[in-house]
Protein backbone atom coordinates (compact mmCIF):
# COMPACT_ATOMS: atom_id res chain seq x y z
CA UNK A 1 0.00 0.00 0.00
CA UNK A 2 2.69 2.46 1.06
CA UNK A 3 4.81 1.32 -1.86
CA UNK A 4 2.09 2.13 -4.34
CA UNK A 5 1.60 5.52 -2.72
CA UNK A 6 5.31 6.19 -2.88
CA UNK A 7 5.51 5.10 -6.44
CA UNK A 8 2.66 7.19 -7.77
CA UNK A 9 3.66 10.21 -5.79
CA UNK A 10 7.27 9.82 -6.85
CA UNK A 11 6.16 9.29 -10.44
CA UNK A 12 4.03 12.42 -10.28
CA UNK A 13 6.87 14.45 -8.82
CA UNK A 14 9.31 13.10 -11.38
CA UNK A 15 7.02 13.88 -14.31
CA UNK A 16 6.33 17.35 -12.94
CA UNK A 17 10.05 17.84 -12.37
CA UNK A 18 10.99 16.89 -15.91
CA UNK A 19 8.33 19.12 -17.49
CA UNK A 20 8.99 22.07 -15.24
CA UNK A 21 12.74 21.65 -15.75
CA UNK A 22 12.17 21.66 -19.51
CA UNK A 23 10.01 24.79 -19.56
CA UNK A 24 12.09 26.83 -17.14
CA UNK A 25 15.33 26.11 -18.91
CA UNK A 26 13.72 26.88 -22.27
CA UNK A 27 12.33 30.24 -21.18
CA UNK A 28 15.51 30.74 -19.16
CA UNK A 29 17.57 31.39 -22.30
CA UNK A 30 15.42 34.44 -23.09
CA UNK A 31 15.56 35.58 -19.48
CA UNK A 32 19.34 35.38 -19.48
CA UNK A 33 19.78 37.17 -22.82
CA UNK A 34 17.23 39.83 -22.00
CA UNK A 35 18.62 40.32 -18.49
CA UNK A 36 15.21 39.59 -17.01
CA UNK A 37 16.15 37.42 -14.03
CA UNK A 38 14.74 40.05 -11.71
CA UNK A 39 11.48 39.64 -13.65
CA UNK A 40 11.57 35.93 -12.72
CA UNK A 41 11.98 36.83 -9.10
CA UNK A 42 9.26 39.48 -9.29
CA UNK A 43 6.76 37.09 -10.89
CA UNK A 44 7.55 34.41 -8.28
CA UNK A 45 6.65 36.89 -5.56
CA UNK A 46 3.53 37.87 -7.46
CA UNK A 47 2.70 34.16 -7.43
CA UNK A 48 3.04 34.32 -3.64
CA UNK A 49 0.35 37.01 -3.53
CA UNK A 50 -1.90 34.83 -5.70
CA UNK A 51 -1.27 31.71 -3.64
CA UNK A 52 -2.04 33.57 -0.43
CA UNK A 53 -5.32 34.82 -1.89
CA UNK A 54 -6.16 31.25 -2.92
CA UNK A 55 -5.48 30.00 0.60
CA UNK A 56 -7.60 32.80 2.08
CA UNK A 57 -10.47 31.93 -0.27
CA UNK A 58 -10.10 28.23 0.52
CA UNK A 59 -9.70 27.28 -3.14
CA UNK A 60 -6.90 25.57 -5.00
CA UNK A 61 -4.19 28.30 -4.93
CA UNK A 62 -3.09 27.45 -8.48
CA UNK A 63 -6.30 28.79 -10.04
CA UNK A 64 -5.84 32.13 -8.33
CA UNK A 65 -2.07 32.30 -8.66
CA UNK A 66 -2.04 31.82 -12.43
CA UNK A 67 -4.27 34.80 -13.36
CA UNK A 68 -2.73 36.87 -10.56
CA UNK A 69 0.79 36.29 -11.90
CA UNK A 70 -0.22 36.84 -15.52
CA UNK A 71 -1.75 40.17 -14.50
CA UNK A 72 1.46 41.08 -12.71
CA UNK A 73 3.51 40.25 -15.81
CA UNK A 74 1.25 42.37 -18.00
CA UNK A 75 1.42 45.13 -15.41
CA UNK A 76 5.22 45.04 -15.40
CA UNK A 77 5.42 45.11 -19.20
CA UNK A 78 2.87 47.93 -19.43
CA UNK A 79 4.61 50.02 -16.77
CA UNK A 80 7.91 49.53 -18.58
CA UNK A 81 6.50 50.50 -21.99
CA UNK A 82 4.23 53.36 -20.96
CA UNK A 83 6.49 55.13 -18.49
CA UNK A 84 10.12 56.06 -18.66
CA UNK A 85 10.84 53.79 -15.69
CA UNK A 86 13.27 50.95 -16.19
CA UNK A 87 11.77 47.49 -15.95
CA UNK A 88 13.69 46.85 -12.70
CA UNK A 89 11.78 49.71 -11.09
CA UNK A 90 8.41 48.50 -12.39
CA UNK A 91 9.18 44.99 -11.17
CA UNK A 92 10.33 46.26 -7.78
CA UNK A 93 7.06 48.13 -7.30
CA UNK A 94 4.79 45.23 -8.31
CA UNK A 95 6.99 42.82 -6.36
CA UNK A 96 6.39 44.77 -3.15
CA UNK A 97 2.65 45.19 -3.75
CA UNK A 98 2.21 41.44 -4.33
CA UNK A 99 4.18 40.40 -1.27
CA UNK A 100 2.39 43.00 0.89
CA UNK A 101 -0.99 41.71 -0.33
CA UNK A 102 0.15 38.11 0.27
CA UNK A 103 1.16 38.84 3.84
CA UNK A 104 -2.15 40.56 4.54
CA UNK A 105 -4.17 37.73 2.95
CA UNK A 106 -2.33 35.16 5.08
CA UNK A 107 -2.76 37.20 8.25
CA UNK A 108 -6.51 37.41 7.56
CA UNK A 109 -6.62 33.62 7.36
CA UNK A 110 -5.32 33.30 10.94
CA UNK A 111 -5.16 29.53 10.82
CA UNK A 112 -2.29 27.18 10.20
CA UNK A 113 -0.36 28.34 7.14
CA UNK A 114 1.80 25.30 6.39
CA UNK A 115 0.64 25.54 2.79
CA UNK A 116 2.26 28.91 2.41
CA UNK A 117 5.57 27.54 3.60
CA UNK A 118 5.43 24.76 1.04
CA UNK A 119 5.20 27.49 -1.58
CA UNK A 120 8.05 29.50 -0.12
CA UNK A 121 10.55 26.65 -0.15
CA UNK A 122 8.98 24.18 -2.53
CA UNK A 123 7.94 20.61 -1.82
CA UNK A 124 7.37 17.57 -3.99
CA UNK A 125 4.72 16.41 -1.55
CA UNK A 126 2.57 19.33 -2.65
CA UNK A 127 2.48 18.35 -6.34
CA UNK A 128 -1.15 17.46 -7.11
CA UNK A 129 -2.74 15.87 -10.14
CA UNK A 130 -4.22 19.24 -11.10
CA UNK A 131 -0.73 20.75 -11.11
CA UNK A 132 0.34 17.97 -13.38
CA UNK A 133 -2.44 18.68 -15.88
CA UNK A 134 -1.63 22.39 -16.02
CA UNK A 135 2.06 21.57 -16.38
CA UNK A 136 1.35 19.11 -19.16
CA UNK A 137 -0.80 21.55 -21.16
CA UNK A 138 1.76 24.31 -20.69
CA UNK A 139 4.54 21.97 -21.82
CA UNK A 140 2.69 21.26 -25.05
CA UNK A 141 2.22 24.99 -25.67
CA UNK A 142 5.89 25.57 -24.88
CA UNK A 143 6.94 22.90 -27.36
CA UNK A 144 4.70 24.40 -30.03
CA UNK A 145 6.28 27.82 -29.43
CA UNK A 146 9.54 26.31 -30.57
CA UNK A 147 8.19 26.48 -34.11
CA UNK A 148 7.64 30.12 -34.93
CA UNK A 149 7.99 32.00 -31.68
CA UNK A 150 11.48 30.81 -30.81
CA UNK A 151 13.08 32.47 -33.83
CA UNK A 152 11.17 35.71 -33.28
CA UNK A 153 11.93 35.88 -29.56
CA UNK A 154 15.56 35.07 -30.39
CA UNK A 155 15.73 37.79 -33.06
CA UNK A 156 14.18 40.33 -30.71
CA UNK A 157 16.58 39.33 -27.92
CA UNK A 158 19.48 39.82 -30.33
CA UNK A 159 18.36 43.23 -31.57
CA UNK A 160 14.93 44.62 -30.89
CA UNK A 161 15.12 47.39 -33.45
CA UNK A 162 16.51 45.20 -36.23
CA UNK A 163 13.74 42.67 -35.57
CA UNK A 164 11.29 45.57 -35.84
CA UNK A 165 12.61 46.46 -39.30
CA UNK A 166 11.83 42.88 -40.31
CA UNK A 167 8.19 43.46 -39.33
CA UNK A 168 8.32 41.36 -36.21
CA UNK A 169 5.65 42.45 -33.74
CA UNK A 170 8.11 42.74 -30.89
CA UNK A 171 5.73 44.15 -28.29
CA UNK A 172 2.99 41.58 -28.91
CA UNK A 173 5.61 38.83 -28.78
CA UNK A 174 6.86 40.21 -25.44
CA UNK A 175 3.41 39.89 -23.91
CA UNK A 176 3.12 36.30 -25.11
CA UNK A 177 6.55 35.41 -23.75
CA UNK A 178 5.88 37.07 -20.41
CA UNK A 179 2.49 35.38 -20.05
CA UNK A 180 3.94 31.91 -20.69
CA UNK A 181 6.77 32.79 -18.34
CA UNK A 182 4.28 33.76 -15.63
CA UNK A 183 2.46 30.42 -15.85
CA UNK A 184 5.76 28.51 -15.93
CA UNK A 185 6.81 30.27 -12.75
CA UNK A 186 3.57 29.45 -10.98
CA UNK A 187 3.86 25.74 -11.77
CA UNK A 188 7.57 25.73 -10.90
CA UNK A 189 6.95 27.34 -7.54
CA UNK A 190 5.40 24.20 -6.05
CA UNK A 191 8.52 22.24 -6.77
CA UNK A 192 11.33 24.68 -6.08
CA UNK A 193 9.69 27.41 -4.03
CA UNK A 194 9.21 31.13 -4.56
CA UNK A 195 12.63 32.03 -3.21
CA UNK A 196 14.60 29.77 -5.54
CA UNK A 197 12.52 30.00 -8.71
CA UNK A 198 14.50 32.82 -10.32
CA UNK A 199 17.74 30.86 -9.93
CA UNK A 200 16.02 27.73 -11.21
CA UNK A 201 15.11 29.61 -14.41
CA UNK A 202 18.48 31.16 -14.95
CA UNK A 203 21.22 28.68 -13.99
CA UNK A 204 20.80 26.10 -16.81
CA UNK A 205 20.64 28.88 -19.42
CA UNK A 206 23.66 30.63 -17.93
CA UNK A 207 25.61 27.34 -17.96
CA UNK A 208 24.59 26.76 -21.58
CA UNK A 209 25.64 30.30 -22.48
CA UNK A 210 29.15 29.51 -21.26
CA UNK A 211 29.64 26.59 -23.61
CA UNK A 212 27.45 27.42 -26.65
CA UNK A 213 28.51 29.53 -29.63
CA UNK A 214 25.03 30.00 -31.09
CA UNK A 215 21.68 30.77 -29.52
CA UNK A 216 20.18 27.60 -30.96
CA UNK A 217 22.82 25.45 -29.25
CA UNK A 218 22.40 27.47 -26.08
CA UNK A 219 18.68 26.68 -26.10
CA UNK A 220 19.18 22.94 -26.66
CA UNK A 221 21.95 22.64 -24.06
CA UNK A 222 19.95 24.66 -21.54
CA UNK A 223 16.94 22.35 -21.92
CA UNK A 224 19.10 19.24 -21.52
CA UNK A 225 20.76 20.66 -18.41
CA UNK A 226 17.43 21.79 -16.96
CA UNK A 227 15.82 18.37 -17.37
CA UNK A 228 18.86 16.43 -16.14
CA UNK A 229 19.32 18.60 -13.06
CA UNK A 230 15.64 18.20 -12.16
CA UNK A 231 15.88 14.40 -12.42
CA UNK A 232 19.13 14.13 -10.46
CA UNK A 233 17.92 16.66 -7.90
CA UNK A 234 14.62 14.88 -7.30
CA UNK A 235 16.26 11.46 -6.96
CA UNK A 236 18.85 12.88 -4.56
CA UNK A 237 16.22 14.67 -2.53
CA UNK A 238 14.24 11.42 -2.27
CA UNK A 239 17.23 9.25 -1.33
CA UNK A 240 18.74 11.68 1.19
CA UNK A 241 15.41 13.07 2.35
CA UNK A 242 16.27 16.68 1.43
CA UNK A 243 14.01 19.52 0.25
CA UNK A 244 13.47 19.11 -3.52
CA UNK A 245 13.91 22.72 -4.65
CA UNK A 246 17.14 23.34 -2.79
CA UNK A 247 18.59 20.03 -3.99
CA UNK A 248 17.79 20.75 -7.65
CA UNK A 249 19.36 24.20 -7.38
CA UNK A 250 22.55 22.73 -5.93
CA UNK A 251 22.74 20.18 -8.77
CA UNK A 252 22.28 23.07 -11.23
CA UNK A 253 25.00 25.02 -9.46
CA UNK A 254 27.38 22.07 -9.75
CA UNK A 255 26.68 21.90 -13.49
CA UNK A 256 27.26 25.65 -13.74
CA UNK A 257 30.74 25.34 -12.22
CA UNK A 258 31.55 22.41 -14.49
CA UNK A 259 30.52 24.62 -17.44
CA UNK A 260 32.94 27.31 -16.29
CA UNK A 261 35.71 24.68 -16.24
CA UNK A 262 34.77 23.39 -19.70
CA UNK A 263 34.82 26.91 -21.06
CA UNK A 264 38.25 27.61 -19.59
CA UNK A 265 39.64 24.40 -21.06
CA UNK A 266 38.17 24.98 -24.54
CA UNK A 267 39.34 28.60 -24.62
CA UNK A 268 42.86 27.54 -23.62
CA UNK A 269 42.86 24.88 -26.32
CA UNK A 270 41.67 27.26 -29.02
CA UNK A 271 44.54 29.67 -28.27
Amino acid sequence: MIDVFLQTFMLRAMLAGILVGFMSSYFGVFIVQRRMSFMGSGLAHAAFGGVALGILLNTEPLWIAIPFTILASIGITLLRDKTKLGSDTSIGILFAISVALGIIFLSLKRSYTADAFAYLFGSILSVQTSDLYVTLILSVITMLSFFGFWSRWAYTSFDRELAGTDRIKVTRDDYILNTLLAITIVVSVKLVGIILVAAFLVIPAASARLVAGTFFRMTIISIILGVISSIIGLIASYIFDLPSGATIILVQAAIFFISILIRRITIRESL
Binding site: R152, L162, G164, D166, R167, G213, T214, F215, F216
Partner: protein
Protein backbone atom coordinates in the same frame (compact mmCIF):
# COMPACT_ATOMS: atom_id res chain seq x y z
CA UNK B 1 3.58 57.51 -60.20
CA UNK B 2 4.92 54.09 -61.08
CA UNK B 3 8.49 55.23 -61.31
CA UNK B 4 8.51 56.69 -57.80
CA UNK B 5 10.22 54.58 -55.14
CA UNK B 6 9.47 56.71 -52.10
CA UNK B 7 7.01 59.55 -51.79
CA UNK B 8 6.78 61.69 -48.66
CA UNK B 9 4.06 64.28 -48.24
CA UNK B 10 4.10 66.92 -45.49
CA UNK B 11 5.94 64.58 -43.20
CA UNK B 12 6.57 65.76 -39.63
CA UNK B 13 8.05 63.90 -36.67
CA UNK B 14 8.06 65.28 -33.14
CA UNK B 15 9.67 63.72 -30.10
CA UNK B 16 7.58 65.05 -27.23
CA UNK B 17 7.65 68.78 -28.03
CA UNK B 18 10.89 68.60 -30.00
CA UNK B 19 10.52 68.68 -33.76
CA UNK B 20 12.96 66.35 -35.56
CA UNK B 21 11.47 66.61 -39.07
CA UNK B 22 9.31 69.44 -40.24
CA UNK B 23 6.92 69.23 -43.16
CA UNK B 24 9.01 67.18 -45.56
CA UNK B 25 7.69 66.65 -49.07
CA UNK B 26 9.84 64.58 -51.38
CA UNK B 27 9.69 62.14 -54.28
CA UNK B 28 12.54 59.74 -54.85
CA UNK B 29 12.51 58.18 -58.33
CA UNK B 30 13.16 54.45 -58.68
CA UNK B 31 16.69 53.37 -59.47
CA UNK B 32 18.35 56.53 -58.18
CA UNK B 33 21.08 56.98 -55.62
CA UNK B 34 20.17 59.59 -53.03
CA UNK B 35 22.63 60.89 -50.46
CA UNK B 36 21.30 62.57 -47.36
CA UNK B 37 23.64 65.14 -45.89
CA UNK B 38 23.13 67.32 -42.85
CA UNK B 39 24.53 68.22 -39.43
CA UNK B 40 24.29 65.98 -36.37
CA UNK B 41 20.77 65.90 -35.06
CA UNK B 42 19.35 66.99 -38.43
CA UNK B 43 16.86 64.11 -38.45
CA UNK B 44 18.65 61.95 -41.01
CA UNK B 45 18.40 58.71 -39.06
CA UNK B 46 14.87 59.66 -38.01
CA UNK B 47 13.87 59.98 -41.67
CA UNK B 48 15.30 56.53 -42.46
CA UNK B 49 13.46 55.03 -39.49
CA UNK B 50 10.20 56.54 -40.68
CA UNK B 51 10.74 54.92 -44.08
CA UNK B 52 11.51 51.61 -42.34
CA UNK B 53 8.29 51.84 -40.32
CA UNK B 54 10.12 52.03 -36.97
CA UNK B 55 8.89 55.55 -36.22
CA UNK B 56 5.33 56.64 -36.91
CA UNK B 57 5.23 60.22 -38.20
CA UNK B 58 3.00 62.73 -36.40
CA UNK B 59 1.79 64.22 -39.68
CA UNK B 60 1.97 63.42 -43.34
CA UNK B 61 1.98 60.33 -45.50
CA UNK B 62 4.59 57.96 -46.88
CA UNK B 63 4.14 55.80 -49.95
CA UNK B 64 6.82 53.26 -50.78
CA UNK B 65 6.75 51.41 -54.10
CA UNK B 66 3.15 52.51 -54.42
CA UNK B 67 2.17 50.94 -51.09
CA UNK B 68 1.51 52.01 -47.52
CA UNK B 69 4.22 51.06 -45.05
CA UNK B 70 2.16 48.29 -43.39
CA UNK B 71 1.49 46.65 -46.76
CA UNK B 72 5.16 46.54 -47.62
CA UNK B 73 7.12 43.30 -47.36
CA UNK B 74 10.19 43.28 -45.11
CA UNK B 75 12.09 42.00 -48.13
CA UNK B 76 11.55 45.20 -50.13
CA UNK B 77 13.91 47.12 -47.87
CA UNK B 78 17.53 46.41 -46.97
CA UNK B 79 18.96 48.39 -44.05
CA UNK B 80 22.36 49.06 -42.56
CA UNK B 81 21.82 50.87 -39.24
CA UNK B 82 24.11 53.64 -38.02
CA UNK B 83 24.16 52.60 -34.38
CA UNK B 84 24.37 48.86 -33.88
CA UNK B 85 21.82 48.08 -31.23
CA UNK B 86 22.70 44.39 -31.10
CA UNK B 87 23.18 42.64 -27.76
CA UNK B 88 26.91 42.03 -27.61
CA UNK B 89 26.49 39.13 -25.18
CA UNK B 90 24.15 37.25 -27.51
CA UNK B 91 25.83 34.06 -28.80
CA UNK B 92 25.78 34.46 -32.57
CA UNK B 93 27.87 33.99 -35.67
CA UNK B 94 28.15 36.42 -38.60
CA UNK B 95 26.57 33.81 -40.86
CA UNK B 96 23.52 33.77 -38.60
CA UNK B 97 23.15 37.54 -38.65
CA UNK B 98 23.46 37.61 -42.44
CA UNK B 99 20.90 34.82 -42.74
CA UNK B 100 18.32 37.10 -41.07
CA UNK B 101 18.62 39.17 -44.23
CA UNK B 102 17.60 36.12 -46.20
CA UNK B 103 14.77 34.78 -44.01
CA UNK B 104 13.75 37.70 -41.75
CA UNK B 105 13.95 35.43 -38.71
CA UNK B 106 16.61 34.14 -36.36
CA UNK B 107 18.03 30.83 -37.61
CA UNK B 108 17.96 27.55 -35.72
CA UNK B 109 20.11 25.22 -37.77
CA UNK B 110 21.09 26.90 -41.01
CA UNK B 111 20.24 24.94 -44.14
CA UNK B 112 23.22 24.09 -46.32
CA UNK B 113 21.68 25.95 -49.25
CA UNK B 114 21.19 29.14 -47.21
CA UNK B 115 24.65 28.83 -45.72
CA UNK B 116 26.23 28.82 -49.18
CA UNK B 117 24.37 31.95 -50.24
CA UNK B 118 25.36 33.64 -46.98
CA UNK B 119 29.03 32.79 -47.40
CA UNK B 120 28.98 34.01 -51.02
CA UNK B 121 27.50 37.31 -49.92
CA UNK B 122 30.01 37.70 -47.11
CA UNK B 123 32.79 37.11 -49.62
CA UNK B 124 31.30 39.74 -51.85
CA UNK B 125 31.69 42.39 -49.15
CA UNK B 126 35.18 41.19 -48.32
CA UNK B 127 34.21 39.41 -45.12
CA UNK B 128 34.37 35.75 -46.17
CA UNK B 129 37.01 35.09 -43.54
CA UNK B 130 34.68 36.29 -40.76
CA UNK B 131 31.88 33.78 -41.39
CA UNK B 132 32.37 31.67 -38.27
CA UNK B 133 34.01 34.02 -35.80
CA UNK B 134 31.93 34.96 -32.78
CA UNK B 135 29.97 38.05 -33.77
CA UNK B 136 30.89 39.88 -30.59
CA UNK B 137 34.59 39.55 -31.36
CA UNK B 138 34.40 41.51 -34.64
CA UNK B 139 35.87 44.99 -34.98
CA UNK B 140 33.65 47.94 -35.87
CA UNK B 141 34.55 47.87 -39.56
CA UNK B 142 34.20 44.09 -39.78
CA UNK B 143 30.75 44.29 -38.21
CA UNK B 144 29.80 47.01 -40.67
CA UNK B 145 30.64 44.70 -43.58
CA UNK B 146 28.55 41.91 -42.06
CA UNK B 147 25.60 44.32 -41.79
CA UNK B 148 26.08 45.33 -45.41
CA UNK B 149 26.02 41.67 -46.44
CA UNK B 150 22.83 41.24 -44.42
CA UNK B 151 21.22 44.14 -46.28
CA UNK B 152 22.32 43.02 -49.75
CA UNK B 153 21.49 39.33 -49.42
CA UNK B 154 17.74 39.86 -49.66
CA UNK B 155 18.19 41.78 -52.91
CA UNK B 156 15.98 44.65 -51.77
CA UNK B 157 14.45 47.09 -54.20
CA UNK B 158 15.39 49.86 -51.80
CA UNK B 159 18.71 49.90 -49.97
CA UNK B 160 18.84 52.13 -46.92
CA UNK B 161 22.28 52.90 -45.57
CA UNK B 162 23.00 55.00 -42.49
CA UNK B 163 26.65 56.05 -42.71
CA UNK B 164 27.74 52.67 -44.13
CA UNK B 165 31.40 53.59 -44.52
CA UNK B 166 31.87 54.54 -40.85
CA UNK B 167 34.70 52.58 -39.33
CA UNK B 168 35.75 51.06 -42.64
CA UNK B 169 39.39 51.49 -43.65
CA UNK B 170 40.38 53.67 -46.59
CA UNK B 171 40.69 50.88 -49.17
CA UNK B 172 37.57 49.22 -47.76
CA UNK B 173 35.60 52.41 -48.21
CA UNK B 174 36.33 52.41 -51.95
CA UNK B 175 35.35 48.71 -51.99
CA UNK B 176 32.08 49.36 -50.25
CA UNK B 177 31.11 52.17 -52.58
CA UNK B 178 31.95 49.96 -55.51
CA UNK B 179 29.80 47.16 -54.11
CA UNK B 180 26.89 49.53 -53.55
CA UNK B 181 27.19 51.03 -57.05
CA UNK B 182 27.37 47.56 -58.59
CA UNK B 183 24.36 46.39 -56.63
CA UNK B 184 22.41 49.44 -57.70
CA UNK B 185 23.09 48.98 -61.40
CA UNK B 186 22.64 45.19 -61.32
CA UNK B 187 19.18 45.32 -59.70
CA UNK B 188 18.17 48.84 -60.69
CA UNK B 189 17.76 49.42 -56.98
CA UNK B 190 17.05 52.68 -55.22
CA UNK B 191 19.80 53.58 -52.76
CA UNK B 192 19.38 56.02 -49.90
CA UNK B 193 22.57 56.74 -48.05
CA UNK B 194 23.17 59.05 -45.13
CA UNK B 195 26.74 60.25 -45.09
CA UNK B 196 28.97 62.89 -43.58
CA UNK B 197 31.43 62.35 -46.41
CA UNK B 198 30.44 65.07 -48.88
CA UNK B 199 32.93 63.84 -51.39
CA UNK B 200 31.39 60.39 -51.64
CA UNK B 201 27.93 61.96 -51.78
CA UNK B 202 29.13 64.18 -54.58
CA UNK B 203 30.68 61.35 -56.56
CA UNK B 204 28.14 58.58 -56.10
CA UNK B 205 24.73 60.17 -55.76
CA UNK B 206 22.25 61.11 -58.45
CA UNK B 207 20.51 63.39 -55.97
CA UNK B 208 21.55 64.98 -52.71
CA UNK B 209 19.08 65.81 -49.97
CA UNK B 210 20.36 68.56 -47.72
CA UNK B 211 18.48 68.08 -44.49
CA UNK B 212 18.23 70.03 -41.30
CA UNK B 213 14.78 69.27 -39.90
CA UNK B 214 13.47 70.77 -43.12
CA UNK B 215 14.56 69.72 -46.59
CA UNK B 216 16.79 72.60 -47.59
CA UNK B 217 17.27 71.22 -51.07
CA UNK B 218 16.84 68.06 -53.11
CA UNK B 219 18.80 68.29 -56.30
CA UNK B 220 21.68 67.02 -58.39
CA UNK B 221 24.98 67.12 -56.47
CA UNK B 222 26.39 69.95 -58.58
CA UNK B 223 23.46 72.15 -57.64
CA UNK B 224 22.90 70.95 -54.08
CA UNK B 225 26.46 71.59 -52.96
CA UNK B 226 26.25 75.30 -53.48
CA UNK B 227 27.54 77.60 -50.81
CA UNK B 228 24.11 79.03 -50.34
CA UNK B 229 22.38 75.74 -49.65
CA UNK B 230 25.26 74.44 -47.53
CA UNK B 231 25.25 77.45 -45.27
CA UNK B 232 21.47 77.16 -44.96
CA UNK B 233 21.92 73.54 -43.88
CA UNK B 234 24.97 73.75 -41.69
CA UNK B 235 24.97 77.38 -40.66
CA UNK B 236 28.15 79.11 -41.75
CA UNK B 237 30.59 76.70 -43.27
CA UNK B 238 34.18 77.58 -42.62
CA UNK B 239 35.57 76.88 -46.04
CA UNK B 240 34.57 77.28 -49.62
CA UNK B 241 33.02 74.16 -51.05
CA UNK B 242 35.22 74.34 -54.14
CA UNK B 243 38.10 73.23 -51.95
CA UNK B 244 36.28 70.05 -51.10
CA UNK B 245 35.32 68.97 -54.56
CA UNK B 246 38.49 69.25 -56.52
CA UNK B 247 37.91 65.77 -58.02
CA UNK B 248 35.51 65.10 -60.85
CA UNK B 249 32.38 62.92 -60.84
CA UNK B 250 32.57 59.23 -61.62
CA UNK B 251 31.11 57.77 -64.85
Amino acid sequence: MNDIAIELKNLSVNFARYSALDNLTLSIPKGTFVSIVGPNGAGKTTLLKVILGLIKPNHGTITILGKQIDELSAFDLGYVPQIKTLDRTFPALPIELVSTGLNAKWPGRLKKHDKNIVIDTLERVGAGNLAKRPLNKLSGGELQRVYLARALIRKPKILILDEPATGIDWIGEKDIHKIIDEYKSEFNATVIMVTHDWESAYHHADFVLLLNKVAVCFDKPEDAFSEDYLSQTFGHVGHKHEMLFSGSRHD
